[in-house]
Symmetry: D2
C-alpha cells in the first residue's frame, strides 16, 4: 500500500513538533511538506534540533502547490487562520485535519460569542466531523474535514459522555477543574511563560468564559441528549511541560453506583486502545500518559455529597492535539488506528 | 522585654525546618530546645545544613526538662503523638501551639470518624482555640492550647468564611479543589514522593473522605451559622516544592455581585497584614506567596452558572503551618503579630 | 522472520520500564518474561500503570524455566547480582545483554579496586563485548555476552574516543563534568531523592573515585592507544527526570583545529543513526535527546587555554541503558539496528 | 540612628525584586525611590504582586531629583547603562552600588575585548572597589563606587582565592564549570527561556569567552599574586529558578593536603557570617543556600589526578547580586553587616 502523503501547516510550534515526532516514524504516512512563514527555507533541524537528519525543510504555505502533492493536511495553525487554508485544501480534494478550534463548534453564534468575530465559513461547521474517535469513529471514516477535539475538551468529554448518556449523572451542576502543563499555551514567548515565572507557580486563569467551554458543553449536551448545558470549566497552569489533569464533579443520578459506573465505562471503552479505565476509587496520574496517546480515567463516588468524582489525564500534545489528529487520519485512510502512535 | 523561650518538638521535618528559618531571625523569640528522637545528639546542621553555625542540637523529647525552661512549645509532631506531649506541657504552664491535627476538630466523634481511633484527650478539644488569627484573634490572646489551622483548611476557610457569614454564597454545594506542593506530604521517604515520580506528574488523591475535610466543614459551618455542612474537598499533588492553590466554587446567593464580594473582603481583611485580596476577576498565583506568611485571594462571579469562583494561595509551610504557629504565638505573647514573619 | 524472544530480568525499575516502553512496540521482538522478586505474580500494570493492557505478569526469576523459552535476556539488575544470572543463562545458550556494570571492566583488579569485592566470574570479563555499538559493532554481531556501556560512560566515550584516536587531543588532563537527571539514581526510595530534596537543588557527588571512572578511562585508553589513562570524572545530580549532559575539557594537541575535529567526527559518526554532531561552536542540549536513543555532540576550541571543549547529551535511560541494550540486541540478531528505537 | 535612604535604579527585574524583598525588611534602610522606565507611574504591586501594600511606585529615573533624597543608589541596570547613572550620582555625593558589570574590570582594554565597545568612563575603573566583602571589606568601608561581584565570579572567587593565595593550588590549568538557575538570565522574554524550553533541559553556553571570564581571572590573579591568569569557565543553564553551583578543578601544589586546605579556609572564612565551609570531602548543594546570602563550599583532593576539587554554591540573586549589594552597603554605612540579610 502506498503511504498517505501528509502536509503539516504551521509546523514550528509544539503541536507541529509532536506531529513530526509521530509522523516521522509512522509506517504508513509520509511527510511531504511542512510550512512555516517565519522559518521558510530553513531545515527542520534549525527549529527542532531533535530532527537533524530528517530531510525536511520548512516552506511557505502555498496551498495550491502543496495540495497538488498531498492526500492529507494537518493544520496546526492559530484559530481563524485555519479556515483560510482549509477552504482551498478541501476544494483541491485534500482531507483536512484541523487542530485549531475553527470547526469544533456547531453553532456559528456560539463561535461569535466566544471568539468575538463572525465565523469566516459557517457553512463548513455542519460538514466538519468532531475529531474524537472514541465518540465519532464512524463519521470520521468518511469525513473530508475533521475538527480535532481540543486538549481540555478531550480530557473532559471522554470521561463524562458515557455517564451522561447512561443517565448515571445529572447534566446540571457539573464542574471541570483542569491543570495543564505549559506547552498548553503553545510555544509562546511572553513574560508569564518564562521559566522563573512558571516554576513553583500554580494558578487558575480564564475561570469565566474560557474558549474551550462551549466545546465541552456542546459535546456533553450531545451525550446527555439535552439541547443545552451550562457547566463550570476552570483551567490552571501547572509547572510541568506536558499533560492535563481534569478533575470533574458531577451530581450522581438516582441509582448510580460505583459498579454501574464501571460497567458503563467498560461498555464504552473496553475495546478502545487509547482509553484506560482505572479500577474504582483510584485517581489518574499525568505521568502515566506523558508522550502517549492514552486517556487514563479514574472514578469515585462520594456518599457524603452524592457526587461522582472523575479524574482524567491526557498528554495535551498527543491525545490532546497531534496524536489525536493522526488517529483521526488513520481512521479516515483505513489504516490501523494506532499506526505511528504506539 | 525578655524574649519568648520556645521549644520545637519534632523539629526534623519540613515544618520544623521552616519554624527554625523563622524563629532564628525572630527579634523577640529564642529557641531553647529542638527535639528529634531520631537525631538526638546531633547538631541542627546535620539535618539542615542551612543552619550550620546555629548553636542548636537536637535533644530527646524529655517533656519535663524542656517544660522547665520554655514559655512556648510548638509541636510539629505526627497527629496522635501531639496530644501525648501537649498534656504534660499544659500542666507545666507552657503555652502549646500544635501544628498537627489533634485539636482542630471540636467533635470527638468526627475525629473518630476520620482518624479511626478514639481521641486521646477529648476534654482538650473544647479548650483548644483554632489557630487562624484572622478568625480567632481575640480568643488567641488568652489561649493555653492553640490548634493551628491546617494548610488546606487555611487556604479554604480564609476566602470562604466572610462570604458565608455575609450570606453572599450558599452553604450548600461547595467544592474546594486544591493543588499542593510535595512538602505538603512531609519529609516522607516513600516511592510516590521521589523526584522522578512527582516531576511532570499531577494527580488527585484522597478525593473522598480526606482528613482535612471535617476541619474545613466545621469552620465553614461556624462562619455560615449553620449546624453542619457537607462539601467536596479534592486535593491534588503538583510538581513543586511549596504552596497550595485552592480553587473554590460556590453558588451565589440572591443579590450577590462582584462589588459586594469585594466589600465583604475589604471589611474582613482590609486591615490584615497577611491576607491580600486581588482586584476583582484576577486569579491568585502561588509564586507570589512562596516563603511568605500571606494568603492571596482572587474572586470572580460566573453569570453563566451563577457560581462564585474564588482562588486562594498560601505557602503550605508558612501560612499553612509554621508561620501561622508563630503568628499565633506572637498574638498570645503580646508581640507584634508580624514579628519574625516579614 | 520469527521474533526474538526476550526476557527482562529486574524489570521493576526505571531501566525496566524503559525496556518495556521500547520492546512493546518493537516490530521484531517479543517479551516472553519479566522478572521481579518483589512484584512476582502482579500484572505489569501494578508497577507501571502506563502498560495497563499489556499481557505481562512479573514472575520469579527462575533462570532455567525462563532460559528455555527465550533467545535473549536483558539484565536490569543491581551489579553483582547480574553475574549470578548471566552464568546459567549463557550456559543455556541465551544471549545476555547486561545493563549493570558487572562485565564492563576488562580488569578484575580494577573491579575490585572500585567495587571492593572480588569479581564473581573474572573469566567472563574477557568474553564480554562492550556494548557501545558505535565502537564495537563488529564484535557485537557475534557476542554471547554484552556489557552494555554505562550512562555516564556513553556520554563521555562517544565524544572523546574519535578525537583521542586521531591524536587531536592529548590523553592527559581530561576532565569530564556531568549532570544527570534523578532517574540516574534508579528507582531508589531514599531521603536525598524525594522531590523536595531534589527540586531546586544541584549538587556534585562522588567527585573522587566514582564507579564509572575506570570504565571511562578504560575505553578512552583503548581509543588513545595508551596502556592507562587517569582523568577526572565529576558527576552532579540535576533537578530533571532524565538525561545526562557531559561537558568535557581536553588539551588540544598540536595542529588541532575546529575543522579537523569536525572532519574526525564526520568520519566516525557521519553514518551513525544515533549520533548527531552539531555544527561547530554549538552546545548540546538534553531536551533534544530526551526519550530518544541519540547522543548529541557539540564541540568548540578555546584559543585562550588551548582546550577542546565538548558537550555531549544522552537520555540516560535510553542511549544510556535500555535503548542501548536493544540496539546491541538488534545487531546481535541481525535485525535493523534501529528497530524499536525510532 | 536615622535610616540609610536607598534608591533602586532598574527595579523591575529579578535583582530588583530581590533587592526589595531584602530592603523592605531591612531595619536600618528605607527605600526612597524605585525606577523603571517601562513601569513608571505604576505601583510596585503591578509588577510584583508579592509587594502589594508596600507604598512604592515606580518612577522615571530622573537622577538629579532622586540623588537629592537618597544616601545610596543600587543600580540593577543593564551594563553600559549603569555608568550613565553612576556618574551624576557620584557627583551628587550618593554612594553607588552597581550590580552590573560596568566597573568590575580594572582594565579598560579587557572591557573592550569582552564587551566590544570602549568603556564609557575608564577613569572610574580605578576608583571602584570590587564588591566582594570577604575579600575587600576594608576598602568597602570608604568606597564611593562599589562594583558588586558578579554571580558566577562570586561562586568562583570565594573558594579559590584563599587556596591560590596560600599556594596550595597552581594558578594554571584551572577549570570552573558552573550551572545556574534561569533567573541568572534575568527576566528576559525570549524563546530559550520559556518554561517548556528550560524544563528537563540542561545545556552549556558561552563556553568560550563568556563575559564573566576576565572578572574571574582578574580576581584569581590578584589572589595568586601573578600578573595574568588564563582559566576555563564553562557555564550551563539548569532547570531551576535560583542558585549557582560551581565545580572547580585545580592542580594541587606540592604539599597540598586536605588538612591544609581546611586550615586555609578556616583562616580565611572562619569568622565570616556568609561563607560556610563543609567538612572535607562533602559537596555543596544549592538547596541549602537558596534565598540566603550564604556561599557554601565543599572541598576534596583526588589522589588519582592530584586535583583539588572544590564545589561552591550561592543564590545567584542574593549573594550573587542583591544580597551582596546590601552587604556592601551595610559595610559602607557602618551598619551591622548582616542587617536585612538574615
Amino acid at each position: 500500500m502506498s503511504k498517505v502523503r501528509v502536509a503539516v501547516f504551521g509546523a514550528s510550534g509544539y503541536a507541529g513538533e509532536e506531529l513530526l515526532r509521530i509522523l516521522l516514524r509512522h509506517p504508513n504516512a509520509e511527510v511531504v511538506a511542512i510550512t512555516s512563514r517565519k522559518n521558510a527555507g530553513e531545515p527542520v533541524s534549525t527549529v527542532f534540533p531533535r530532527f537533524t537528519g530528517a530531510p525536511l525543510t520548512f516552506v511557505e504555505p502555498k496551498v495550491d502547490e502543496i495540495a497538488a502533492k498531498c492526500d492529507a493536511a494537518i493544520l496546526a495553525l492559530p484559530h481563524g487562520l485555519a479556515t483560510e487554508y482549509a477552504i482551498p485544501l478541501l476544494k483541491a480534494g485534500v482531507k483536512v485535519f484541523d487542530i485549531s478550534a475553527d470547526f469544533r463548534l456547531k453553532s456559528a453564534a456560539k463561535y461569535k460569542e466566544y471568539y468575538k468575530v463572525d465565523h469566516p465559513a459557517p457553512e463548513l461547521l455542519a460538514k466538519a466531523v468532531y475529531g474524537l474517535p472514541e465518540r465519532y469513529r464512524d463519521q470520521l471514516r468518511t469525513a473530508d474535514l475533521v475538527a480535532c477535539a481540543g486538549c481540555y475538551p478531550t480530557s473532559s468529554i471522554l470521561p463524562t459522555a458515557p455517564l451522561l448518556a447512561a443517565k448515571l449523572v445529572k447534566p446540571t451542576g457539573i464542574a471541570v477543574v483542569s491543570c495543564s502543563g505549559v506547552t498548553g499555551a503553545g510555544r509562546k514567548v511572553d513574560l508569564p511563560y518564562i521559566f522563573p515565572e512558571c516554576n513553583e507557580s500554580l494558578k487558575a486563569y480564564g475561570v469565566v468564559g474560557h474558549r474551550h467551554l462551549p466545546e465541552i458543553e456542546q459535546e456533553m449536551a450531545f451525550a446527555a441528549g439535552v439541547p443545552e448545558m451550562a457547566i463550570n470549566f476552570i483551567p490552571h497552569l501547572a509547572p510541568m511541560n506536558r499533560c492535563i489533569n481534569s478533575t470533574i464533579l458531577m451530581d450522581a443520578a438516582d441509582g448510580c453506583t460505583l459498579e454501574k459506573i464501571g460497567e458503563v465505562y467498560e461498555q464504552a471503552y473496553g475495546k478502545e486502545q487509547f482509553v484506560r479505565i482505572l479500577p474504582a476509587k483510584r485517581c489518574a496520574d499525568t505521568k502515566y500518559v506523558s508522550m502517549t496517546n492514552t486517556c487514563e480515567i479514574g472514578y469515585n463516588l462520594d456518599p457524603h455529597t452524592n457526587k461522582v468524582i472523575v479524574t482524567s489525564v491526557i498528554d495535551n500534545l498527543t491525545k490532546g492535539a497531534s496524536g489525536q489528529a493522526v488517529q483521526c487520519m488513520n481512521i479516515r485512510f483505513g489504516l490501523d488506528e494506532a499506526a505511528g502512535l504506539i
